[in-house]
């Protein structure tokens, strides 16, 4: 793990090293430029790819620096003044206006340009291969100890055998007769067992009970899909979105707040972010094949489904709705309302759905059986805080039951008709 992140950050480290020198020389600050770029430009520009605006890598080579200063500070004015280059860009991008950044100083712009011009050196190949064979140290010692122990054991067994043999020899030599026990004719164990009706009875009962138990357990798990982890048409990683990028669950599953359904986000919700995020630049898991290319390719699948043309940065109108495989599937005769649990009760999504932020592939965490529901209703107190609905009924009911806080069950959360109608 450390190794991976180290490698990933290596270029950056090198960069920082460079900066430490650069600052001394009053050169543009690439690190500063990067943060300025991310804060101001990244929404519309990418370094090597056309997005809403043109790709910015090497932009300083294309235009005069003074021209760039005034363009960035107020592009509209330049277009209006009829500057040939400015008008050309304006027309190329179908008349979309670039936001003006009058707050940026020339020095800031220099920093940004330094960042956009900067090409990170190719990562040192040597560093890669260096750490490879060090791994199996621990395993080796363990095996060795085991092998030595085995050898000692084998030696002891041999010694015992030899001692026994020698003793026998001595005894034979001294004329001591070793009396061998005469084998009496005994009924074989299985026969004795078969002739004992009590034992047979006990065994049969035991067998019947245990097979009933096994059968019952088998039948009771029919239709329970705990751990169900289907392959989805698009490899959507909750780990990256919810875990690494800390996106709130209800940003995408917004209807969970107000509706019985949590809702699978419509593709336009994905495009809120993915209009600008066309490629994956995060961590990789090479073992499982989750490379950057892999993830980027999945983003392309989204573009295809939603009909987004990257080259023109526009919607084509040709859409292919994604057929997600449904994981959490309650039977039709169960009424479940997300809003009541999420908004009214204030329960975390993870309580039922498990550590979604760690799930590379989504799976069903809980059993979703009725027993599981009921258990929670028995244990969980209702959230009455600042809820006008509960004021009266909670006071009256808690008095009746003689408790401070009512559970969902005491509120009637175990009645059949609350979930089955």
């Amino acid at each position: 793990m450390f190794k991976d992140s180290f490698l990933a950050h290596l270029p950056l480290l090198l960069l920082t090293l460079c900066f430490s020198f650069a600052v001394n020389a009053q050169e543009p600050d690439i690190q500063k430029g990067k943060s300025l770029f991310n804060a101001n430009c990244a929404a519309c520009h990418k370094l090597k790819k056309r997005a809403v605006g043109p790709a910015l890598a090497g932009v300083s080579a294309k235009y005069d620096k003074e021209w760039l200063y005034s363009w960035i500070k107020n592009s509209t004015a330049m277009v209006k003044s009829g500057d040939a280059q400015a008008v050309a860009i304006y027309e190329e991008y179908n008349g979309s206006v670039m936001t003006s950044f009058p707050q940026l100083s020339n020095e800031d712009i220099d920093n940004i340009l330094a960042y956009t011009d900067y090409t990170p050196p190719a990562p040192a190949a040597t560093a890669m291969s260096a750490a490879a064979p060090a791994e199996s140290g621990g395993g080796f010692t363990n095996d060795l100890i085991l092998a030595v122990l085995m050898l000692v054991l084998a030696a002891l067994v041999t010694m015992l055998f030899l001692v026994n043999k020698t003793l026998n020899k001595i005894a034979a030599a001294n004329g001591v007769e070793i009396i061998k026990k005469e084998k009496r004719k005994r009924t074989p164990l299985w026969k004795a067992y078969a002739q004992n009706p009590f034992l047979v009875f006990v065994t049969v009962i035991f067998l019947l009970l245990s097979s009933a138990y096994v059968g019952y357990s088998y039948l009771m798990q029919v239709g329970i899909d705990q751990g169900y982890m289907p392959i989805q048409p698009i490899h959507y990683s909750h780990k990256i979105h919810s875990g690494d990028n800390q996106i709130e669950c209800k940003y995408c599953h917004s209807s969970a707040r107000v509706s019985k359904h949590s809702g699978i986000p419509s593709l336009n919700v994905c495009m809120n972010c993915h209009m600008n995020i066309a490629e994956y630049n995060g961590e990789e898991d090479l073992e499982k094949g989750y490379t950057k290319e892999f993830y980027t390719n999945e983003i392309k699948k989204l573009y295809k489904a939603v009909g987004w043309d990257e080259s023109t940065q526009s919607y084509t109108g040709e859409t292919e709705p994604v057929k997600w495989v449904r994981i959490h599937n309650l039977p039709d005769f169960v009424y479940f309302n997300h809003a009541q649990h999420v908004s009214v009760a204030g329960i975390d999504c993870q309580k039922c759905h498990g550590p979604v932020e760690e799930m590379e592939i989504m799976y069903q965490h809980s059993s979703l059986t009725m027993g599981w529901c009921i258990n929670c209703h028995r244990e969980t107190n209702i959230n009455v805080k600042d809820n006008g609905y509960y004021t009266k009924i909670h006071e009256e009911l808690s008095k009746k039951y003689g408790v401070d806080k009512l559970t969902a069950a005491q509120m009637g959360g175990l009645e059949c008709g609350k979930c089955h109608y």
Binding site: G223, D225, P230, S255, V258, S259, K260, H261, G263, I264, P265, S266, L267, N268, V269, A305, V306, G307, T319, P321, V322, K323, W324, V325, R326, N329, P331, D332, F333, Y335, N337, A339, Q340, S343, V344, D386, N387, G388, Y389, Y390, T391, K392, I393, E396, L397, K400, G412, E415, C416, G417, K418, H420, Y421
Partner: protein, 1021 residues
């Protein structure tokens, strides 16, 4: 020694040279199979033998079976771009308007994930804001699998461009030749459409516009025109009425478009100080037993001729003029009694008539003018019926004579609804251009050159002027399911306009109606009210017409009264299984129309009804003859049917564009000659019998006052509640105690004072039996349709039924007296036997019965698997997934409200109704389980709705206000008969109703402590 004998299969084997034997042993076919078998040329060369095929087949079957052991893979497909308003799991409501030429209603549409699933009343709308049974069911007609899915030419699918271009060309050609083209529409009452038609006529001068209503109100329109100078109908506000006299006007049914029950019910509940409570008085003269007659205080069965006399006599009595009639003495006395009541009521009096006779209609208007009735409003008159019968008759002639060369029809089906449909079809075939805008490939569309598929009203734009100054908007609640276009859209295009219909509506409204108010606001509300009204002066002279009325003579034969049933109406929605299975409020018959005959006439004609051993009803089939028209219909003996009259419902017997299961009944339109619902016919019995499917076969209460309690207004005012709403007494330690007292209870009491405690109150006074709640319950709770055969076996699934009871004496009070006077066993046997038969003119009560949600429920204690259990909030829960189908609960239920799923009613070809096709299943409510075979089900007191209200309140962190809790039936009830709420909220309406002295429980004496209560019926007699 082993047997060496060899058996030869054929002589070929004897021939060593022949390889045929070997070949036969190896292959099934020696000769080469024809090369083009299955069109596959590779097959004969294939190495795969039949045996291999079977091996692979077997393996794959086994593999598939094994694979099926795993759970199915469900996919979830989110929107690509989610519409802003749609959140999965949350319903959206849209205000819109239904108008189909028969029904008109301002309604709200509940949609889930973009699918309309339920019709709700629009309580904010000022007029026609209540959805009747047909309007409630109209949402299912949207998902009708028999709909036309795109434009067609002679039965072949074409594109809209082809249709429009061709029709435009043909219209041009006809215009150049100066040939007339008729545009036939129902009464649209749509200001924008009228404008569009005007523009269309400006472009093609040869277009003549004919308004055709299947059920004509021509006489009433003509009468109003004569009296007030405008072709329209008055509007009525029955909530202002204190004395109502109806002469064959079923105003609680479909009279003049219907929708009057809301106002009517307001005056039917006794109100005022104790001892001085008042309610309106309702007299009904009629031939058929109608909803209005069933609700009337006095119902007087009369023939149409007698009804004309009654009108003249009433006018005479009010004006002190003498119009001598041949009315019987009793009727004359009744008329003078009514005249006195009308005079006393003054402005609160109103006389309405449904006779399709201009003189009779004018007489009614004259009486209302004379009384200065506030109930009838001529200023805010309505144009919901505009059709002129003579115009249509003329058109049929013109088509046949070749005077009219083209027909464009929109929303009408004359080939089915016209009495002279054959002449119309013949004329239609002669036309150079015939185009029908239709949702179905109906009787008319199949004879047209072009069929333009139109959208359902829930996919359409539109506007309606309900009555003067009251406008309503129609908006789509779903994208068109099929390749359809509204006819206005096509007319706009043919007129050369580039405007869409919705833009046209918006432009018209902004220019002419709204006066600066935002269109979106009006669209959101679904209606807009201006102060427009007509100043109309009365200018009729009625003396001559009274003379004509009293000269009316009855002809020999029986008087046939054609009517429309609450379920099917004019027949537009005949392919709607909810409506077909809807039990008629009066006869309780489903899936049929029938000839209603009085008992006396039936005996005279040799017609009878026979109950089978399983309780099902059979009726003789009668032949109805009108001139040379013969129609066969089964006979139902109808208590209350005026002697000398028979009744038959229109709207049945449709065959085109219908599923085979839905093709039931007899088409009565051929008998609707000259658009007059009253005809003189001869009826003869045939030897054939017809099988009915009824949901109720018990007609009387046999004097069991505990089930339906009722009293008269006089007793209600003068006597103590203990007298007319007495509590059943039981004896304990030789002392009489109330059956509800704790001492008489064998159950442990459960404290329900904390939290919600739901109760439903049903007011027998304001329930008119309209049945909107039955359909609303169907829609809300995914109640399956089981079909005629199953209903006949008493396997109906309606969670809510409206029991109808007849008195066996003239009144229910008489029944009670009879029972009290029984002495001895012999007497009781013979008396009760007699009491099974209803009176010739019985009193009628309606009693909606659903699960009573007993606090001490007999069903719960007998369930061996605890599938039925009680909630703290008073609801009797039913866990379908737990039920194993023992049906003990149904046996132990004293109210017989539990329903058993004898079969799988969804995705089953044996029950080919809406739940058997993908389209029809779109109407299902996703919040309610679709039950499977072998499971008991029943009314849940709409727990999904009460839970929704609670969950919403929790989400918003607030308390629940009175009126928020609703059930499907209570929110559908337009008359306020059903009131639902939390009785622990002491200020709620239902808590007050629980304390009302009219309150009683059904079968109180058995101690079930129901959470459904009834209010004693008070008759103003």
């Amino acid at each position: 020694m082993p047997n060496q004998k060899k058996y030869w299969k054929s002589e070929v084997e004897l021939n060593d040279q022949s390889t045929l034997a070997d070949d036969l042993a190896q292959k099934e076919f020696v000769q080469k199979l024809p090369e083009d078998l299955l069109g596959n040329t590779e097959l004969p060369e294939s190495d795969t033998s039949r045996r291999d095929f079977l091996k692979y087949m077997g393996f794959s079957t086994a593999a598939a079976t094994l694979a099926a052991c795993e759970g199915p893979i469900n996919t979830s497909i989110p929107y690509v771009v989610q519409p802003e308003q749609i959140i999965p799991g949350i319903a959206n409501y849209y205000a819109t308007t239904l108008i189909d030429g028969f029904d008109t209603a301002s309604i709200l549409i509940k949609t889930r994930e973009g699918r309309p699933i339920k019709v709700e009343n629009n309580p904010d709308a000022p007029v026609n804001n209540v959805a009747n049974a047909r309007v409630q069911a109209s949402v299912l007609s949207l998902y009708d699998s028999m709909r036309v899915q795109g434009p067609m030419q002679a039965g072949v699918d074409v594109s809209w461009d082809t249709l429009e271009a061709n029709v435009a060309q043909q219209l041009m050609m006809l215009a150049e030749k100066g040939e007339e083209v008729a545009l036939i529409t129902p009464s649209l009452a749509s200001p924008t459409t009228n404008q569009i038609i005007k523009d269309f006529q400006a472009k093609f001068s040869n277009i003549s516009h004919h308004v055709y209503d299947a059920l004509s109100e021509t006489a009433a329109l003509n009468a109003f025109e004569k009296a007030y100078g405008k072709r329209a109908l008055p509007s009525y506000d029955f909530s202002k009425a204190s004395c109502i006299v109806s002469v064959d006007a079923d105003f609680l049914g479909d009279w003049q478009g219907g929708g009057y029950d809301t106002g009517y019910a307001k005056t039917r509940v006794p109100k005022g100080k104790k001892g001085k409570a008042e309610m309106s008085k309702h007299y009904q003269f009629e031939s058929n037993m109608t909803l209005s007659g069933a609700n009337a205080d006095f119902r007087i069965p009369t023939t149409a001729t007698e009804q004309q006399f009654v009108l003249a006599a009433l006018y005479g009595a009010l004006t002190n003029k003498s119009y001598p009639t041949s009315l019987s003495k009793a009727l004359k006395a009744k008329v003078s009694e009514i005249a006195t009541a009308l005079k006393a009521a003054g402005k609160g009096a109103v006389v309405v008539t449904g006779l399709q006779n201009e003189d009779a209609q004018r007489a009614a208007l004259a009486i209302n003018e004379l009384l200065g009735s506030d109930v009838m409003d001529v200023r805010q008159n309505t144009s919901l019926r505009q059709g002129d019968a003579s115009q249509i008759n003329q058109l049929v002639n013109d088509l046949n004579s070749g005077k009219v060369k083209g027909v464009i029809m929109a929303g009408v089906n004359p080939a089915y609804t016209l009495p002279n449909a054959d002449a119309f079809i013949a004329g239609l075939k002669k036309a150079d251009l015939s185009l029908s805008f239709s949702m179905k490939n109906d009787e008319t569309a199949v004879h047209c050159q072009w069929v333009a598929a139109t959208p359902h009203y829930l996919e359409s734009w539109g506007d309606v002027e309900m009555k003067m100054g009251h406008y309503a908007l129609m908006q789509p609640t779903i994208r068109p399911l099929f390749d359809t276009k509204q006819f206005q859209e096509v007319l706009l295009k043919l007129s050369g306009s580039s405007q869409s219909y919705d833009d046209a509506i918006k432009a018209y409204w902004n220019a002419n109606i709204l006066g600066g108010v935002s269109f979106n606001e009006a669209l959101h509300d679904g209606f807009y009210v201006t102060t427009n009204s007509n100043r109309l002066g009365y200018r009729d002279n009625v003396d001559a017409l009274m003379q004509r009325l009293i000269r009316a003579k009855s002809k020999a034969g029986l008087e046939l009264h054609l009517y429309t049933k609450t379920g099917i109406g004019d027949g537009q929605q005949a392919n709607n299984p909810w409506l077909q299975e809807f039990p008629d409020p009066i006869s309780r018959v489903t899936w049929d129309n029938y000839l209603t005959v009085s008992k006396a006439d039936a005996e005279a004609l040799g017609l009878n009804n026979v109950s089978q051993s399983d309780g099902a009803l059979d009726g003789s089939i009668a032949e109805i003859k009108l001139n040379d028209i013969v129609v066969k219909a089964p006979v139902l003996i109808q208590p209350g049917q005026a002697v000398g009259t028979v009744g038959l419902a229109l709207g049945y017997g449709k065959t085109a564009g219908m599923k085979s299961e839905m093709q039931v009944g007899t088409n009565a339109y051929p008998l609707y000659q000259n658009f007059n619902p009253v005809q003189t016919v001869t009826v003869t019995a045939t030897s054939d019998m017809h099988e009915f499917a009824c949901t109720q076969l018990q007609n009387t209460l046999m004097g069991r006052g505990e089930i339906v309690r009722e009293t008269s207004l006089e007793i209600f005012n003068t006597k103590d509640a203990k007298y007319w709403n007495s509590m059943t007494q039981v004896s304990r330690d030789h002392e009489e105690i109330d059956v509800t007292s704790a001492d008489a209870d064998m159950w442990q009491a459960f404290d329900r004072s904390i939290g919600h405690h739901f109760n439903l109150s049903i007011d027998l006074n304001s329930c008119t039996g309209c049945g909107a709640c039955v359909i609303a319950c169907h829609a809300e709770n995914n109640v399956p349709v089981v079909g005629k055969q199953e209903i006949r076996k008493s396997r109906d699934m309606h969670w809510l039924r409206i029991d109808r009871y007849y008195s066996s004496q003239d009144t229910f009070e008489g029944d009670l007296e009879t029972v009290e006077n029984i002495s001895g066993l012999g007497d009781s046997l013979s008396t009760f036997n007699k009491m099974e038969d209803p009176s010739a003119n019985p009193q009628v009560t309606f009693q909606p019965v659903m699960c009573q949600h007993c606090n001490h429920a007999p069903c719960e204690t007998v369930c061996p698997v605890a599938a039925s259990s009680h909630g703290r909030q008073g609801q009797n829960h039913m866990a379908y997934n737990r039920c194993v189908g023992t049906r003990y609960c149904a046996n132990n239920c004293p109210y017989k409200v539990r329903r058993f799923n004898w079969f799988l009613y969804n995705k089953n070809d044996e029950f080919d109704y809406h739940m058997n096709d993908d389209l029809g299943r779109m109407v299902l409510n996703p919040d309610v389980v679709v039950r499977s075979r072998g499971v008991m089900e029943k009314c849940s007191m709409c727990i999904q709705m009460t839970q929704k209200t609670i969950l919403d309140a929790k989400l918003e962190g607030r308390e629940i206000k009175d009126g928020e809790f609703q059930t499907a039936c209570s929110s559908a009830c337009g008359t306020g008969a059903l009131a639902f709420g939390d009785i622990n909220d002491k200020d709620s309406e239902v808590a007050h109703l629980k304390e009302d002295n009219r309150m009683y429980h059904l079968l109180e004496s058995i101690g079930t402590k129901p959470n459904v209560m009834y209010q004693v019926k008070v008759r103003n007699t």
